[in-house]
């Protein structure tokens, strides 16, 4: 630590930081625009001016930009010095000379960094009398609204979009005071991280278009800490609501996971909670074959369920990777572990089990996104991160800079010195290798790609393991290009300080996961201490569901067949998305009675006898276990309304109703978690993912509503002028009102970022132990999988080479960031971005079958007929065809599989 003097006082500061960072960490309010903790400094906006002195004798000093001054021992500066303060006020005045009179109609108003900084510098009166410069706006797609007049030319947007996220369609144009940030022509912003512009932009140029359609101010929104439910990364979010509906999702900082950024699927996928097909009342289907449904009172539905249970010979439960850990566990408890299914077909179940095994055996446990960002050599085996775990792709994009920076002089440039680092690195990229059947959006960074069938990808992985450590078994009959690539990958991984292997279940291949694990263990055996394994899973709670050790769906089918079971309880799972329709139909028709719980109407709920409305993430408390085995709690921002209840609470009521548990045994989240910890010791730490419901600060709860929350005596006054009692929360230490503890809550309970003088989300500085460091009091969540050291060797069943087959194609799943996730695909803004159905085909195969791009291709996959237009992918190897997974309306489950072309 270095000792620095600010305004005559001595402080300890981190010498690897810059002065602005240090001042903010120490709690000073110093205005800034172009600096961002994740983007670093460029010294462009001239806003963070301070006066720096040479030594104790120096009283004149000079004005410097704090963001460009490295912290060094003995550094002396003054923030309050009058000339520096005036300098900052004048800079703001210049920036504001063209700023429009928009605040009342600007979505950023009330949480605007420019407003905050203007107030902080004291500028309050416009003296510039000349006409304001104006711009025309562009249409930028369904996510982002553009209002260029408000721009203050800080360049943060293009630095994030281009330099950080790798997008190429947002640039700075024109010159001098005409600088324009936009696309070369109107159109949808292509990059899947465009939503971060909303938080990156210090003013209202880029705002959230989904919020604009139901706009509410930050101070009016009741928010709660949530966890994104659209993929397994488990990014921390803040879900904000007003008038009973979710209005927006903001990033909630987690040092090890999402940091400052979210992907667009997570940020804009929330509107499924308000979609027309949401289930809000219990439904009864008197005749499952006919499309007749009646809305029922909860008591009536419960009575029907009691009848169903009393008639049943055996009840089985189908869990779900998108339901919370508590709900899955409650279901397992209701039906017994012998009759509990994970809700996955065998093909996915086996891959997930293999992944969990690899995670448990990983030397230091599964790696996090922060590990990925710091890795200096990466091998991606059988994953397409941009589409299966988007936030991971953003982390990997940063990782390719690590190796060039580490080299010679780069290591002497401070990491925050963004421009210097980028000038030093130029276009050099560290080793990143991708093995995936088709092209990916990370290919432009890759040092090598291997596009092949799943088994060939696994063989490459094993070959890499063998090349690293000859003790690993060799792969026979590997072609020359693959073995060349394998030795290049092995060399890069061995030379790296922090090599990482990324693998997952995208191709449903246990062999690929075993190959990835073999590579990590080979690295560890040969002495690379920092090697890590990063597991990618498809859905929010895939890992949590797998840890409950349910059986695959096929086992359940056998139990139905044998007559051991005749009634199903299906939890938040549309099995038509998991198995081909004919197979699902068989399961459904064999079950005499079906009870379904879900938040959305699906093909499965349409065929259930009783449907209970379960809460989405916005109406539930629960826990998701993310891809690194971290249990994270999400809390409901909306008080329970109507008949919607958390799925675990419904199941608890069913248990009480049918006599399988005592009354009220399951009516509190903490009781479910206690029972879970008792039954599943491995999952016991999940209880500590967030403080329990009894947790208080000075005897007070933590408010979900901001202190300036408005309208509490008029929101419901049109219904009755007598104000109702505020809703109570028995499951969390949060309250639904603005009353409660006014200080900072523990990180797991942070509902909004606000600090006096800091109304924008940049108030985050005040919630971190140091700028860009862990949250104060530690980051939330509990790691469930600690790692196993270098002892255990993974299995080494190397698959045989894929034989040439002229007759059929191997259909592999490919993924779309917008479309492959079930929930976000129902959000209107995301639905606009979902591509039309297609089958990706190599040009040679298309020619072989006499097809051209756009022609309709008919495939027979097992008993399923698939018809879609051809999309030519020159990168796809011959013999393969890519079919987008989980697309709404025409999902083709159960891939990879052999497909024959029907003419």
């Amino acid at each position: 630590m270095a000792t620095i003097t600010i305004d005559g006082q001595s402080y300890e500061a981190d010498p690897s930081a810059n002065l602005l960072q240090a001042a903010l960490t120490l709690g000073f309010d110093l205005p800034y625009f172009c600096w961002h903790p994740a983007l670093g400094s460029v010294g462009a906006c001239r806003q963070c001016a301070v006066r720096q002195y040479r030594d104790e004798e120096d009283t004149t000093g000079q004005i410097v930009m704090a963001c460009m001054v490295p912290v060094a021992d003995g550094l002396r500066c003054s923030i309050v010095e009058p000339e520096a303060a005036e300098f900052r006020a004048e800079v703001i005045e210049w920036l504001m000379s063209n700023h429009p009179h928009d605040c009342p109609v600007c979505d950023e108003g009330g949480e605007c960094h420019l407003q905050d900084m203007t107030v902080m510098t004291g500028h309050c009166k416009r003296r510039f009398r000349f006409p304001k410069r104006t711009f025309r706006n562009q249409y930028l797609g369904p996510f982002i609204n553009h209002e260029m007049n408000r721009c203050i030319q800080c360049y943060r947007c293009v630095r994030f979009y281009g330099d950080y996220a790798g997008g190429s369609d947002l640039v700075a144009m024109a010159a001098h005071n005409h600088v324009y940030f936009g696309r070369h022509e109107e159109g949808i912003l292509e990059n899947e991280f465009s939503g971060n512009l909303v938080e990156i932009c210090p003013t209202g140029v880029f705002t959230d278009k989904t919020l604009k359609h139901h706009y509410s101010r930050k101070w009016d929104m009741v928010s709660s800490p949530s966890v994104c439910s659209h993929c397994a990364v488990g990014c921390n979010t803040i879900a904000s609501t007003r008038y009973g509906s979710v209005r927006r999702i903001l990033n909630r900082y987690h040092h090890d996971i999402n940091g400052y950024f979210l992907c667009d699927r997570g940020r804009f996928g929330y509107t499924f909670t308000d979609a027309a097909d949401r289930l809000r009342r219990p439904l009864l289907h008197p005749d499952r074959e006919r499309d007749v449904e009646t809305v029922a009172e909860p008591a009536e539905a419960m009575k029907r369920i009691r009848e169903i249970f009393s008639e049943a010979t055996g009840v089985a439960g189908i869990g779900s990777p998108r339901a919370s850990l508590e709900s899955n566990y409650a279901l397992r408890n209701l039906v017994g572990s012998g009759r509990f299914s994970s809700g996955l077909p065998r093909i996915e179940h086996d891959a997930t089990t293999a992944l969990l095994e690899a995670m448990r055996n990983a030397p230091d446990g599964p790696g996090s996104l922060r590990d990925a960002e710091r890795a200096d050599a990466v091998l991606i085996l059988g994953e397409d991160p941009n589409n299966t775990a988007p936030r991971l792709a953003l982390a990997l994009r940063q990782s390719v800079r690590n190796e060039p920076i580490r080299a010679d002089a780069g290591s002497r440039i401070p990491r925050w010195h963004d421009r210097a680092i980028r000038d030093f690195v130029q276009d050099r990229k560290g080793p990143l290798f991708i093995a995936w059947p088709a092209s990916t959006r990370l290919d432009d960074l890759a040092a090598g790609t291997h596009r092949a069938a799943p088994d060939e990808i696994a063989r490459l992985g094993f070959a890499v393991a063998h090349a690293i450590d000859p003790q690993s078994p060799a792969v026979t009959d590997l072609d020359d290009s693959a073995s060349d690539l394998a030795s290049r990958i092995a060399r890069a991984l061995k030379e790296a300080d922090r090599p990482m292997v990324v693998s997952g279940t995208a191709l449903r291949s246990p062999a690929i996961i075993a190959a990835a694990a073999a590579t990590v263990h080979a690295l560890r055996r040969t002495g690379s201490g920092g090697s890590s394994f990063l597991a990618v899973a498809p859905e929010a709670n895939t890992i949590g569901d797998a840890m409950l050790e349910g059986a695959p769906l096929e086992t359940l089918e056998q139990q139905l067949e044998s007559g051991e079971v005749d009634t199903l309880v299906i939890l938040e799972n549309d099995i038509y998305r998991r198995l081909p329709a004919p197979a699902t139909d068989r399961i459904i028709s064999k079950a005499r009675r079906i009870i379904a719980l879900d938040s959305i109407a699906t093909a499965t709920t349409n065929r259930a006898d009783v449907v209970l409305p379960a809460g989405s993430f916005a109406e539930s408390d629960g826990t998701f276990v993310n891809h690194e085995g971290r249990a994270q709690r999400f809390f409901q921002p909306l008080p329970p309304a109507g008949d919607v209840l958390e799925a675990w609470r419904w199941i608890g009521r069913i248990a009480a109703e049918t006599g399988t548990s005592k009354q009220n045994e399951w009516d509190r989240l903490d009781r479910v978690l206690t029972a879970l910890a008792r039954d599943c010791p491995e999952l016991a730490p999940a209880r500590d993912a967030a403080p329990d419901a009894a947790f208080r600060a000075n005897g007070q709860r933590f408010p979900r509503a901001p202190r300036r929350f408005s309208g509490r005596t008029s929101i419901l006054s049109h219904l009755s002028v007598h104000e109702p009692k505020p809703p109570e929360d028995s499951d969390s230490p949060l309250s639904f009102t603005m009353e409660g503890h006014s200080g900072q809550p523990p990180a797991a309970l942070v509902s909004h970022y606000w600090s006096p003088g800091w109304n924008s989300s940049q108030a985050l500085n005040k919630f971190q132990s140091e700028v860009a460091g862990p949250a104060r009091g530690g980051d939330p969540g509990a790691r469930l999988i600690p790692g196993n050291g270098p002892n255990e060797r993974p299995s080494t069943a190397i698959p045989a080479p894929v034989p040439d087959d002229d007759q059929t194609l191997l259909a592999v799943p490919c993924y779309e960031v917008f479309g492959s996730d079930e929930l976000s695909a129902r959000a209107p803004a995301v639905a606009e971005r979902i591509p039309k159905p297609y089958v990706a085909l190599a040009p040679t195969d298309a020619e072989h079958h006499g097809l051209d791009s756009g022609d309709s291709l008919n495939l027979l996959i097992g008993e399923l007929r698939v018809s879609a237009p051809v999309r030519l992918d020159p990168k796809l190897p011959p013999g393969l065809c890519g079919i987008p997974a989980g697309m709404p309306g025409w999902s083709v489950p159960h891939l990879p599989a052999r497909a024959s072309v029907v003419t």
Binding site: P100, H101, D102, C103, P104, V105, G109, G110, F130, P131, K132, R133, T134, F135, R136, N137, E147, N149, R150, M173, A174, A175, H176, H178, Y180, G182, K212, H213, H214, Y215, S216, R217, W219, D220, R242, Y243, R708, F709, S710, G711, R712, T713, S714, I715, S717, H718, S720, V721
Partner: protein, 171 residues
């Protein structure tokens, strides 16, 4: 005794003073134009709703009796979808008027709002919105703001130059 008579005499003298009591409701009291009574929502000189649903009045309200929800027309003009004031809570402090950046919400010299039923004290937008400009004439917020709405394109606002061409590099 003497003091009693003195008092009676004083009261007697008051018979010949000017009377302050007025025969309300037959006779109306004079209320100054800036008297803070019933709240109205006004229109701009072109007849459009002045309220832009910025939520500042609701935030300023110390008794939280204002609730509204923003919406937009097809041209991007923002206005309140509903605007509700619970007058049974209102303390007529005028903070909402002070906070309003568009002169939309105004307190007018009218206090005759008594109701037998408290529920009738809840006013919706149709009860609040008048057809005139109220106390403040001539101001049209959207003419000053930088956003484009129907009938006002970029660069057509007050003190604005016409939009620049981003593909132009001339100095």
């Amino acid at each position: 005794m003497l003091s009693l008579i003195k008092s009676l005499w004083l009261v007697f003298l008051h018979l010949f003073r000017k009377r302050f009591t007025i025969q309300y409701p037959e006779e109306k009291a004079y209320l100054a134009p800036r008297y803070r009574g019933r709240i109205i929502l006004s229109r701009d000189p072109d007849g459009g709703e002045r309220c832009v649903a910025c939520y500042l009045c609701a935030a300023a309200c110390p008794v939280e009796c204002i609730a509204l929800d923003a919406t937009e027309d097809e041209n991007g003009r923002r206005y309140p979808d509903f605007f509700r004031i619970n007058f049974s809570r209102c303390i007529y402090c005028g903070y909402c008027e002070e906070a309003c950046p568009t002169y939309a919400i105004q307190l007018v010299p009218d206090f005759e709002m008594a109701e037998y039923n408290r529920q009738n004290m809840v006013y919706e937008k149709e009860d609040l919105l008048i057809d005139g400009e109220g106390k403040y004439h001539g101001y049209n917020y959207y003419k000053v703001a930088g956003i484009a709405i129907g009938g006002k394109d970029k660069g057509e606002g007050e003190n604005e130059s016409s939009p620049i061409d981003p593909k132009d590099l001339m100095p």
